[in-house]
């Protein structure tokens, strides 16, 4: 009875990871890459993407050593019960912050481009309701949805990108320059949201079945996502040039507006492509809520069948935090300021430290 075991396959994890990469980050990234990397913004994207993929491999390595652990057990084991619990609760805070900002940014985009007269709280509430509903079904449901939606959203996106690529003049990208180290350093906060999907590694290992060739598969997934993200940045730079791209708020969407398919029913495909980001936001926030429930269940050792009760904590918190920023600009500013620190602590520093402690104490065993 494979459907009753709350497990997901590595393929489903790959799909989820790929879709997490393309949260609202992909909408802002080309502009940020142009600001910090200039003409070589696409190379910066490759470098950070490759670095992220190595970090993903580190997570898989840790996960394979402790396949029944989530972040809660990892932290408690490495740093002791009390400090571990504090760190786990801190991670809970990051979950709420990441989820709320993703919701807010997406709902702001919807509000400004599709429903200018609809109250924003209503859009946030409806999206949140949808995500909570899916989260209450468990991670299996999100994984299955991701597998199905992957083709529904990625194929149209790739088709549009191909058409953009065909109709673009690449002179603006010349000459190709390697980015300076300073620009790499400056770009770090803007590329930190690329790691947002890595939250999955902190919770998914107990829910994974058949971890065959996992390191290689996850690494390739991260590289594929990096490739697609690089294409987005590359094409945006080619279409608008560095100066114009730096001024644009949502260059990815605007770039898609430029393509018109003769004979097609739709006048503007950019709005329809927002469907892609709706899907990624839905899956990302759903997963975050599920992970939040999992975290609380494990920290407070509540019964598994009571897990959904934690929704009553997460729904109001996410809703309130999402409404805190005044507008999209403030939400984006907040994310750029806070995410690098939180991601640095929870996705880089702590995993490296845990690996170090494991190595020193000789803990964990490969399956």
């Amino acid at each position: 009875m494979f459907a009753e075991n709350q497990k997901i396959s590595v393929r489903q994890l790959q799909v989820l990871l790929l879709l997490y990469y393309f949260g609202t980050t992909a909408l802002f990234l080309p502009s940020d890459a142009a600001v910090t990397g200039g003409n070589s913004g696409w190379i910066v994207t490759i470098l950070w993407g490759v670095a992220a993929s190595f970090l993903a491999v580190l997570f898989v390595y840790l996960g394979e050593k402790h396949p029944s652990y989530t972040a809660v057990e990892w932290y408690r084991r490495a740093f002791g019960r009390h400090l571990g619990t504090v760190l786990a609760l801190g991670l809970g805070g990051k979950i709420i912050f990441d989820g709320a900002m993703e919701l807010r940014l997406f709902c702001d985009i919807i509000s400004s481009s599709m429903l200018p007269r609809t109250p924003q709280w209503l859009i946030i509430a409806l999206t949140l309701f949808l995500c909570c509903l899916a989260a209450s079904y468990g991670i299996e449901c999100a994984a299955r949805s991701g597998e199905i939606l992957f083709f529904a959203v990625l194929i149209p996106l790739v088709v549009v990108l191909i058409f953009v690529a065909i109709s673009t003049n690449y002179n603006r990208l010349l000459p190709v320059q390697m980015p300076a180290f300073s620009s790499l350093r400056e770009s770090m906060p803007f590329f930190a949201p690329l790691l947002q999907g890595f939250m999955v590694f902190l919770f998914i290992f107990p829910s994974l079945e058949k971890r065959r060739h996992m390191k290689r598969r996850i690494w390739l997934t991260c590289l594929a996502a990096t490739g697609l993200m690089t294409v987005l940045v590359f094409l945006s730079l080619a279409v608008y040039g560095t100066a114009a791209l730096s001024e644009k708020l949502l260059p990815t969407l605007q770039m898609m507006e430029r393509v018109s398919f003769s004979g097609i029913f739709l006048g503007r495909q950019d709005l329809f492509l927002l469907w892609f980001w709706m899907v990624t936001t839905f899956l990302y926030v759903t997963s975050l809520i599920f992970f939040g429930q999992e975290l609380c269940s494990r920290v407070f050792q509540s019964k598994k069948n009571k897990r959904n009760l934690w929704l009553f904590l997460f729904i109001p918190l996410l809703f309130v935090v999402a409404l805190l920023p005044k507008d999209m600009a403030e939400a984006y500013w907040l994310r750029i300021r806070v995410t690098p620190w939180l991601s640095g602590i929870f996705f880089v520093a702590l995993p490296v430290l845990m690996l170090f402690i494991d190595t020193v104490k000789g803990r964990g065993g490969h399956e």
Partner: protein, 490 residues
Amino acid sequence: MQISKNLSENMIAIKETFRDCGDVIMREFVVGSGKSRIFMIFTDNIVDSDTIHEFIMTNLMGLYKECDESGLLKVLMEDIIAVGEVGKIDTLQQVVDGVLLGDTVLFMEGNEFALQVSTKGFPSRGVSQAQTEVVVLGPKDAFLEVMATNIVLIRRRIRDSNLKLKRKKIGRRSKTDVALMYMEDLVRPETLRIVEKQLDRMNLDAILDSGYVEQLMEKHWSSPFPQLQMTERPDKAASALLEGRVVLVVDNTPVVVMLPVTLNVFFQAAEDYYDRWAIMSFIRTIRYIAAMVAIALPGLYIALSVYHPELIPTALAIKIAATRQNIPFTVVGEVVIMELAFELLREAGIRLPSPVSSTIGIVGGIIIGSAAVEAGIVSPTVVIVSALTGICSFVIPNVALVSGLRLCKYLAFLLSAVLGLFGLWVALLFILAHLCSLTSYGIPFMYPFCSASVNDDVDWEDTVFRMPLNKMKRRPIFTKPSARGRKGGA
């Protein structure tokens, strides 16, 4: 209550039990030299009178040999009653059950057992053509209300001793016969175990139709989507058995229940396997597209025409606007009117006899539609949208799934009317999340569109596309893992 050795006591108990039951025939008679008293009981009209007269009564009176009371039972069973199925029963409850099932029960003086003789002979219509799963190619026979005939229709197609059948009686009052059929070497043992447990746990007055069984066995009872499949076609039931699925044949019902299911099986028609793979793959694709249109089209039309007209090419937008001139209702109002009219026509068409229902379809579809357009109540575009949505729902070969999709259509419609394209997306994601949360006996409802790696992705060969039969080398996920290989294709 046990059967007594004293015949008079038994007779009193039986007469009390069947008091005022005019259709229950009781007869006491003596055989031989008048020493042996026999009490016979059966229910009129559900027995085969010829069997009772020729093989029980005639033989009893003509062939009876004197013997002592204790040996009477053995003599009757072995020498006199010339009916294939004869059994010993020892409780009055068994007597009552047997009599109401169409069997004849014989009590004998001095015996604490009675004889139950199979004399069933229900009035029944002959095997007729399928009404809801009509095919151009392939067999035309359909199940009946008689369970025995339905079992025969399946057995005729699978002459394999691995086809097993377990009988159960469900319903405190109806005591409806339910036959659980499965291929012993193909079925997943865990599925069989759960099904048997579910059947044993059913506790209600009566099972009047297989729909009762379906609803009581569904895990997610709140879902509008069917989680068990019903069919009136014996070939489809046989095919399900050969895929390792369980078939439940319920007495008095001309449809059988098949389980487990996935969404995919609801898009499969029996005919898909009787014609060439290329054309049937094309038709399957059309069915999937039709399902999407049936859910989303009215909502999409509202979202685009009310909230995002900029998404529609200018020429088309102008045409739509021109057709809406002088229409007194909003777009949402128009769609509501047309959808309601369509639902009413559909209901009227189902309830009326078939010659009249086709007239209703024509009158409703063409005359009322065009009259409404000419009267300026609705625009032609909305008529096209509603008609297309309706036609698309009829393309799907399963009525239960269509009902689920109809409800989803209204959800998409409602959210699109309130929130435009965003509302439509929310509705679609809601439906998808719900579908992904469903399972049927441990198998994800959306399999193989998700989790296909569990069976090495082979189940894709019979989904949106149907591969050639000789290429379908593996049985689907319903089969137990050790029996998934097929020799020489399907």
